[in-house]
Point group: D3
Chain length 240, copies 6
C-alpha cells in the first residue's frame, strides 16, 4: 500500500487532480445548470426551483434541497440496465443521491431560502470514476446560479466541492479515475468547504482495514484537490 | 385549419425545417453515438453492440435491434418526475421506444447482422418538440457507425430519418416545435427512407378528424423535410 | 407483394371484411356495453360514467374520455401471462389503450360532456387478430349507449370505427386475421369517421419499407371496410 | 339471527339455489372452458395444459394444478381499478386464487396427470356475489374437459363444487347473492365432493361470533346446494 | 388417517397443546405488546393506536382494527427471501394478515373504540408451525393492553384465541408443529371465543377430501386447546 | 458546540458508552445469531450459510458476505410503514445494509471462506439510536459463531465493532441515543478493528460544517467506545 515507486495508470503525480471544466447554461430550461467534466467523467447538473415544500415542512417558513442521480445506460464501458426500465433505483443510486442532497443542504440557510424546493438532478453522461464527487461540485454551481436567479444568493452559506482520494498501488493518491477506483484498497470521498470545514467524510476499506495515518494523508490530499475545484467554480461563476 | 395567413411562432416558412446538427463520438464508450440537435431539441443517441440475442431468437442465426428512450427530468420547461424514481416507464415512453426500435429494425438485415443485439439508447437532454423523430434520425447515425465498427455495414439496407408535420393555425407545416405541437389540430410522424420508402406513418387528430387531402399535404412536407435530414446524416458520416 | 394470384388463408376476397356482430347489454352494471365479434375476435367493451374528472382538468367545465385494454390470459393460442400477476402492463397494452382513448376522445365534445369521466374498458375474450380495431369499433357503441343514458348524446360529434389492412402474400387485403397479421409485410390501422374524416392512421413496415401507392390502396380498402362497420353499429343502436 | 319471518331480498326460499347454467367451448383456444352463470354472477373458466412443471416439482414424475382469478373492472356496480394498471393483485384476489387452486388440486391425482401443469383461469365477467364458489364449480368442468382432451380423465379423483351459505336477516340461507353477502352476519364457503367429502371450509363471523349449531345448519344447506351443482356439471359434461 | 397407534413426532398426546408463554412489554414503544411462545414458535405482537381512521370510515363515529404479518428471513430452517427486498408480500402473507385482522375486529365494538385505528403487527421471530394461530392469540393480549391504556376496555366484546388441528399419521391431533403441519392430510385453523362462539373456521384437505365426522373431532380438540390458551392470556393480563 | 457545561440527556459522561449485552442462540434455526442490546436499542442479528455464491463470483474459488437490514414497524416511537407492504426498501435501509455488508466483508478472507455465501440479517426489534452500529457489532458475533460452526474460523481476519459519535449541545460525545442523534450538529459512524484499523468512517454535518479538530476528537471517542464493545463480544464468545 506504501509502494510509491509504482506510477499511477494516468501518469499523474499522487497529488494531481484531473483536468476540470465547467460549462453553464447547457440545460436551457433549468433555473441553473452546470455541465462538469473531470477528466473522462462528465455530469449534467441542473437546479430546479419549485414554489412548494414537501408535506413534512409545510407552513414552517423554510425551504428544502433535494437531489436525484442517474447514469445514462451507456455512460460506462459496458451498458448498464436503465433503472427506469428495471423499475427501481439501485441501492448505489439511492446512496449517492442522498449524499448529494445532504451535502448541498449543509451549505444553504433553509430559512432564507423561503418556502421553496430546489431539486438538483445530476445525470452522468460519461463515467470514468468519481461521478458522485463531480456531481456535488457541479451541483453547487447549478445551485449558486439558481439562487442568484431567484435573488436568494444570501441563502448560500458556504462554497462546497468534493473529491475522492484512495490508497492504490501508487500509494495515497488524489482524484481517482475508474481504473484506480476499481482496484483501490481504500476509497474515500471528502465533501469540504472553501473555508476549511468538513461536510461529509466517507472512507471505506475495500479489502482490509487501513490506518489512521493513511487516512490523514488522504484528508490532506483532499484539501489540496478541492482548493483547485473551488478555483474552477469561482472562475465559471465570475464569467457566467 | 387552412388559414395560411397566420405566421408560425418561429417565423419559419411552412415547409422549413429547423436547423439540424449532428455530432458523433460524444459518448466515449459506445460503439456508435450521435448527439443530434434539431432546433432546441437535443438527443444523445448511443448504439451498444452485445454478442447475444434475446431468448426467443437464440440459435436462429440472426440478430436483433432494440431501443430505449428517456428524458432527463429537466429537459422540459417544468421538471418531470424521473421515471427511475417513479418505478416505471410511462405509456408515452414505451410507445416511443417501441417506435424507435421498429423503425431501425426495418433498415437492418438481421441475418447479416449475425447473432448480436444492438441497443439504441435515445436520451433527451433538451426538449422542444419532435423528440421521437430526432431520436430516430440520430439513432440511425449511431447505428451506422456501430455497424461500421464491427464490419457489418452491409447489414444496413436503407437510410432512415423521421420528421413530424402537423396542421396548425398556420396551416400544414413541417417540423413542429413545442409551441406548435401542443396546439396542433393534427400531429403526424413520418419515418421514411432515402429511396422513397415508408417505414412508419402515425397520424393523430387531436380534436377533430382531418381530411385525406390534408394528410397528403403533410406527407409531401415530410418528404421535403427528411431529404434535408438525409443530407445532414450523410455529411456527418462522411466527415466522421 | 403484388402477387394477387395467391389466396387469403380464409378464402376471403381481398376487400372482404370478416363477419361482424355486436351485442349490447352483456355487462349488466355498466352504463353502456357492447360485446363485439369480428370473425374469431371477441371483445367486451364497457363504458363507465363517473361524476369526476382527472386533477389536471378540475374546474375547467369539461369532461374526459379514457380507456383501458386487457386480454384474458387464454384468449390466445398459447396462454399469455396475466398482466395483473406480472405486476405491469406491457408496452403493447399501453400503446393500444392510448390509441383507443385518443380515438374516442376525438369524437366527443368534452365541453358538452360536462365534468364527468367516461372510461372505456376493452377486454379481449377471444383473439384472432385485429383486437385493437374491434375494441375501438365496439367502444364507440358502448360510448353512444352510455351518452344516451345520461342524456348527453349531443356530445357525440362523429361516428367512429376502425379496421386493419395489410400487405400480405395475397396482396393488399382488408381486415387481417391472426395468420395474415403475423406474416404481413406491412400492417396498418385506420380509425375513420362515417363522414370521411381521419382520426388515426398507423402504418408499420414489418420487414422492409412499403411504397406510397401501396399505402393509398390500403387506405381505399379501409374506407370500404369501415363503411360496413358503420352499418353494423347503426343496426345495433337502432334495435337496442 | 334466527328470525326466519323475514324474506330473502330475492324472494328465494332459505334452501333455494340461484339458477345455474354452464356453457362449454366459449374460449376457443383453451383445452377446456366453461362459462358458468349462477344468477347474476358470470365467470369464464379456462383450463390450459402446458407440458412443463414448476421448478420445485421437476423430475418428480408428477404434475401441478394452479389457478388465477380476476374480475373485469366493470363486473361490479362501481368500476373497480384494473389490477394490471394498479400493478398488483389485491390480497382478496390472491386469497381467492389460492383457494381455487387448492380445491382443484385436491381432486386430481398429480402422479397420473404426469409432468404437466394445468392452469385454471377464472375471470368474472359479471358479479353478483359468490364469485369464488362459481369459479370453483366452473373450473372443475373446464378441468374435466381438458383432462378428457389429453386422455387423462383417470387422474380426476372426485367431483367438486362450491357454494356459499350465510346467516342473514332471513336466517341461515343458501347461495348468497351480493345484497345478502354484504350484510350477512356470517359468511361461509364450502367446497365439497359428490361423494360427501369436504375439501375446504371457510367460515367467517363478520360482526360477532356465531354458534356451533348455526354452523351445522349452514353445512347442511351447503350439501343441498352442491347436490344441485353436481347435477348441472354432469348435465353439461354429458351433452358436451 | 385413523391409525392412532402411531405416536406424534413430539411424543405429545393427541389432545395435548404445546407449552405456551406470553411476555408483555417487550416492545417498549408500543401501546400494547405480547411476545408469545407456543413451543418453538415465537411471535412478537404489537398494538399501535393512532388517532385517525381509513378514508372509507371518516366521520362515521367508529374505529378500525387492522393487522400486518411478517416473518424474519431466518425464522425458518431455510432462510426465506425478505419480502421488503422482494418488493411484495406473498399471497400467504396477505391471507394471514387478513385473517388476523378479521379475527380481532370481530371482538371489538368499533363504535365504542371511537375514531381511531389499532394496527396489530405480528412478526414471527422463530417458526415451528402454527404461526398464524399464535399471532391471533398474542395479538389479542396486545390489543387488550392497548385498549386498557387508552381507557377503552369496554370496547373489547370477547376473548379470542386460535389453534390449529389436523389429521396426521397419529390421527386427529391438537396444535400441530412444523413436522406435523407439513405432512398432515388436513389442516384446520379455529378462531374461537371464550364463551363458545366461532369467529373463523378454515379447514383444508391437502391431498384428499376429509369427512364430516373427522371435522367434528377437530373442532372438539380446538375447543380443548383454546381453553388452555384463554387461561394463559388471563394469567398474563392479571399479572401484568 | 464546545459548551461542555451542558449535560447529556441520559446523564452519561461524554465518553461513556451505553450498557451493552449480547445473547447468542436466540434464533434457533440460524447457523449463528446474536441478540444485541445497546441501551434501549435491540437488534436480532442472524448469520445464514448457504452453499452457493452470486452469479458474478461463480467458479472463482471464493465466497461472499452480504447483509440485509430491517426494522419492525413498531420498533420506534411512531409506527413506521412496513417496507414489505410499501413494496420497497427505503434509501436509508439500503444505505445501512450496504454499510453492514461492506464492514463484515472487510474482516473475512473470502478465499478461505470457500464457495459459500453468508447472509447477515439485522432486524431491529427496539430502536433508540445507533441501530446500524449495533447491527454491525452484533452481526460480527453471529458471523464468528457461524464460521466456527462450519469450521472456517480461520477465514475471520479481524474483530470488528462500530459506534456512533457526534457533536451535541454537550460537546463531542460517544454512543448517541435517539434524543442526541436527532439534534446533533454532526453525526459520525466508525467501524473499527480490535487491532487499530479503520474499516469505515462516515461523518456528516447536519446543519453546518464541522472542523478537523472536532473530527479527531470524535475518532478518539470511537476508539474508546469500540474497545468496550470488543470486550463484550469476546465475553459472549468465550462463554457461548
Amino acid at each position: 500500500m506504501t509502494d510509491t515507486a509504482r506510477k499511477r495508470p494516468s501518469g499523474r503525480a499522487p497529488d494531481e487532480n484531473r483536468i476540470v471544466s465547467i460549462e453553464t447554461g447547457f440545460a436551457r430550461h433549468a433555473e441553473g445548470s452546470a455541465l462538469i467534466r473531470v477528466g473522462g467523467t462528465e455530469v449534467l447538473c441542473t437546479a430546479t426551483v419549485e414554489e412548494r415544500v414537501p408535506a413534512f415542512l409545510r407552513n414552517r417558513g423554510q425551504g428544502w434541497i433535494t437531489a436525484e442521480y442517474g447514469m445514462l445506460p451507456r455512460a460506462t464501458h459496458h451498458r448498464g440496465q436503465r433503472e427506469a426500465a428495471k423499475g427501481k433505483q439501485s441501492g448505489r443510486t439511492q446512496e449517492i443521491q442522498r449524499l448529494i442532497a445532504r451535502s448541498l443542504r449543509a451549505c444553504v440557510d433553509l430559512k432564507k431560502l423561503g418556502e421553496r424546493t430546489i431539486t438538483l438532478d445530476c445525470d452522468v453522461l460519461n463515467a470514468d470514476g468519481g461521478t458522485r464527487c463531480a456531481s456535488i461540485t457541479g451541483a453547487w454551481v447549478a445551485l449558486a446560479i439558481a439562487l442568484k436567479k431567484i435573488r436568494r444568493s444570501q441563502a448560500l452559506t458556504a462554497q462546497v466541492a468534493a473529491v475522492s482520494c484512495g490508497l492504490t498501488e501508487a500509494g495515497a493518491v488524489l482524484d481517482l479515475d475508474y481504473i484506480e477506483d476499481s482496484s483501490a484498497q481504500a476509497d474515500t470521498n471528502f465533501v469540504l468547504t472553501a473555508d476549511g470545514g468538513i461536510i461529509e467524510i466517507q472512507g471505506t476499506a475495500e479489502d482490509k482495514p487501513f490506518q489512521e495515518t493513511e487516512f490523514f494523508e488522504l484528508l490532506r490530499l483532499a484539501k489540496l484537490g478541492t482548493a483547485r475545484l473551488f478555483d474552477a467554480q469561482n472562475h465559471v461563476l465570475e464569467t457566467a
